[in-house]
Symmetry: C2
């Protein structure tokens, strides 16, 4: 019998860029299609998309993608659809209603025309001749999240991406624990992939529904407006804010592109329950007295240019914040965003605006990810032969092995921690690494896809550290005319104070070029000049600007 192949196209040990490939003979199933978010070492980058070279090669060689299954509507699971689908052959895509709606929005946004098929929970569907799958209801920080039970010729696989086990979900739709238990009891599960992101927390992640009373408490007795900022796809959180507003007699206004768009999608898929007359258009906001108003506003990470941040710094056209208002950060800071996030909070505090955030009020935000105890519980119930932690960084995967899988008597060979680019071969007895490929995420920068790579990024980082010096070296009949040499710099030193440095650069340039003699070719001359000048500059000023020399023959 053939083996099943497994590959994470977005890499392993990264939290985002979720795109998993399962292949049996010539049939391929894809799960999720998400983007990654750039970090501080990727200035100017908007997003990362998984490298699908391997997939394209397989298709080229005759393999067929028999379906794509989407687990939930977060961008790190669906955001790459508009970038990748146009390069791939046609295949059916399945999702829950809300996920389909969000995916549809992402596609529409980039003018990609593709339909998403909606499938109910526990409904068994065959894909190609080898695969079947079912959706399993599970709770997370966006409604309508699913786990996936995949039937393959080598055995059943439980693909458990992002989840928590919320005992009191806001919409009352519990995780399908009966079904999960039944899988473990009846099905002799071959493998489970499980979200390990929050394994560092030992407790059970508190229910999302505990946030409602906290929001109500914080909103009570506020003299002026209430502003609530949150992840714009967090419809449960939005629902609870709406419920609190209803109870307190506050009208609700949505401000911010992402929030407004998601609300529209939620309305279409009936994922929000909004009492008649509670919502107010933002243009009519001024008609409502401040103490009867709640603004749900985008920008919970303090993102530059977001509605919240513009309001905080007094740059928003319609939202003004005064010191009788209250701002509620109903969102944790995502690692890497600390500076803008806390700057926004500090600015509000400095302006004597009442501001609360999870560091001082833990119950105004709850994570959407399972803690160690929940991960242990689901693993205990599923009893797969092999287990693979996914959706976490390397430290989370390694910790999952140590404090979740090992204590449940899993042996090293049963706990799968593939590295990025490792293609696993799975059969009923064992899992092995069949092949190692290199994966390099494509960079989205503005409208460009993939035209920014490691060299451009490293240039940008270097430019940011000490700027650039451009040397224009005029030459006439093979002789440099140093009197006409021009030195221009940006981001290096303040030009008005730079006279001495510029003089030094000219002097050294002349000495270096003269030292090189006449038999050096242009490319070599420029290369050596740039290198030597860089070294000399570093000695006198301890900076390493990029140096760009241009020989100008006339």
């Amino acid at each position: 019998m053939s083996k099943l192949k497994f590959l994470a196209l977005g890499g392993m040990g990264r939290v985002t860029q979720n795109l998993y490939l399962y292949q049996y003979q010539q049939e391929i199933i894809l799960i999720d299609c998400g983007i990654g978010f750039p970090d501080i070492y990727m200035p100017g980058v908007d997003a990362l998309i998984p490298d699908i070279t391997y997939l394209l090669n397989q298709v080229e060689a005759g393999a067929k993608i028999v379906g794509m299954i989407l687990s939930h509507g977060h961008d790190d699971h669906i955001g790459a659809l508009p970038y990748l689908l146009p390069n791939l052959p046609d295949f059916p895509i399945y999702a829950s209603p809300l996920t389909a709606q969000f995916a549809h929005d992402r596609l529409l946004d980039k003018k990609v025309d593709r339909s998403i098929q909606v499938l109910s929970d526990r409904q068994n569907l065959a894909l190609g001749q080898y695969f079947k799958f079912q959706f399993i209801a599970i709770t997370h920080s966006i409604p309508d999240t699913k786990h996936i039970l995949l039937e393959t010729p080598v055995g059943k696989i439980y693909h458990g991406s992002d989840f928590k086990l919320d005992k009191h979900p806001v919409d009352g739709r519990l995780s399908d624990m009966d079904f999960i238990e039944q899988i473990g009891r009846d099905d002799n599960l071959l493998m489970a992939c499980l979200d390990c992101l929050r394994v560092e927390r030992d407790s059970w992640t508190p229910s999302e529904s505990t946030v409602g009373p906290a929001l109500l408490r914080e909103m009570k007795d506020v003299e002026g407006k209430v502003l609530v900022t949150l992840m714009s796809s967090h419809l449960h959180r939005i629902q609870q804010t709406i419920d609190a507003c209803k109870q307190l007699g506050r009208k609700v206004v949505f401000v911010g592109r992402s929030v407004e768009q998601n609300i529209k999608s939620a309305a279409q898929s009936k994922s929000l329950n909004v009492p008649q007359g509670l919502l107010i258009d933002k243009k009519k906001m001024k008609q409502i007295p401040d103490n009867k108003l709640c603004i749900i506003i985008a920008g919970s990470q303090g993102q530059e240019g977001s509605s919240l941040v513009r309001a905080v710094y007094g740059d928003h056209q319609i939202v003004q914040i005064s010191n009788h208002d209250k701002v509620i950060f109903s969102a944790d800071v995502i690692p890497g965003n600390e500076i803008p996030y806390y700057s926004a909070i500090d600015q509000l505090a400095a302006d004597e605006v009442d501001v609360v955030y999870p560091d001082i009020r833990p119950d105004i935000h709850r994570s959407g990810h399972a803690s160690r105890v929940e991960q242990e519980l689901i693993l205990k119930l599923l009893k797969p032969k092999f287990v693979m932690p996914i959706g976490g960084a390397d430290r989370h995967r390694s910790l999952f092995k140590k404090i979740v899988a090992k204590p449940l008597s899993y042996q090293d060979w049963q706990i799968l921690l593939p590295k990025t680019g490792e293609i696993l071969e799975i059969d009923q007895q064992r899992v092995s690494v069949a092949q190692r490929i290199s994966l390099s995420a494509k960079i989205i920068d503005g409208l460009g896809i993939g035209d920014v790579g490691p060299i451009v990024l490293s240039d940008r980082l270097n430019l940011s550290k000490a700027g650039i010096i451009v040397l224009i070296l005029p030459r006439f009949k093979k002789k440099f005319d140093f009197n006409k040499m021009q030195v221009i710099s940006r981001g290096f030193v303040f030009m008005k104070e730079a006279d001495e440095v510029i003089k030094y650069i000219k002097k050294e340039t002349i000495s270096i070029i003269q030292g090189l003699g006449k038999n050096v070719k242009d490319e070599e001359l420029k290369h050596r000049l740039e290198k030597r000048l860089a070294r000399r500059l570093f000695k006198i000023i301890r900076r390493e600007p990029m140096i760009l020399s241009v020989i100008w023959d006339s």
Copy 2:
């Protein structure tokens, strides 16, 4: 009677750049002289130093600096000494023995010759004709930390910079609570400045001495080497690591410039207690079996180029990490450092090295700052008429007001939250803002002081987002020779894929210049060209590279 003036030269609402000025008539006292640390919006910047323009103006106008008092040896309290002292007249500087030693090292490092005078606790010293002060022993994350009781003609002031109230300090030197209580009982204190950084935490900060047993537990039964990384000035932490090593029979090696230098200073001021024969020179490390070795290594924030990070990525000459070793991060991540800090931990986890860090073992690090309860206690004991939270961000200062001072019945007029640049006037009845000045920190970049300012930084940030395009426009007898135009870019698009964009740029450049006509002056032409080209590029590629045009007449 005259009033006392107060100004934070490093600004308020910032944690670092500590430099406080107290002035009575023509006499000035300075407390601390610290640097600030750059954030992600200041690429290439090494440090910030407080703006002393106001101080220099006062001196110019006849005021006299009668003394500087240093509270403790952290760089945000002493690091600016070598940069600022050379620009100031001579005055005596006072510190505790270890602080004096660290300050001396900083000065020596930059070849500044200045002596620091050591003063014992509770010893009263007159400075000029108006001021007296005493040091008060207090606990913090560096030994020999002091609070300062300043006597002024308008009343006594308790300057309580960074502290915690450690009930079991590692060196047995308790905070002088008797003296603090006596001040509150007898002295009718006028004002207290208190460290509010950790006011978000409601509990009493655990004693530093709880870290010792945790380190011992983590180091026990490690098959290979143990690496402990920590703040290199944290001598109590180093002492506890040494003690654990002694108990476990491991030799200790110090690796990393900052750690090695601080150990030397600690030895000189006898702040470390190291058993004979326990320390090994790093060059002899290879002679010790791995399971008898502990390396105390610099780089606890995952800093690029630090000894730890080079070891983690296999680039260190003498420290190799293998998967039977264990790495202990005995330091919290400082906000803004999350990416490098967790990247180092992830890399170790990926290499199957056992790694522990405070998120999973909270007791291997303890903060050096007082939590809310301790802040409340010291305020209760001191009973000053006015209280000013210092050493925290705006959100901490505002929270201190709300949950520390207000519950102790302080009124708004008694709680001082000056903004950056506000000069306070203090007398026995009231505190008012006498003047507002602007303060702009000087930037240290390499060997340059102050030659990098807002324009250079904004250029660097812009360069980092989309790179630079240099246009060289040859002109001969007032006519542009577009055939010879050169377009060079860095950090914009990958040059090999850039042909089309370069062609587009050339075409648009020609069309823009031709559109401008012939009567435009050069500066105006370049300005308009750069602006219009930027707008067109943004339209087609949604990026905003810096554009630099050079007209080349020949």
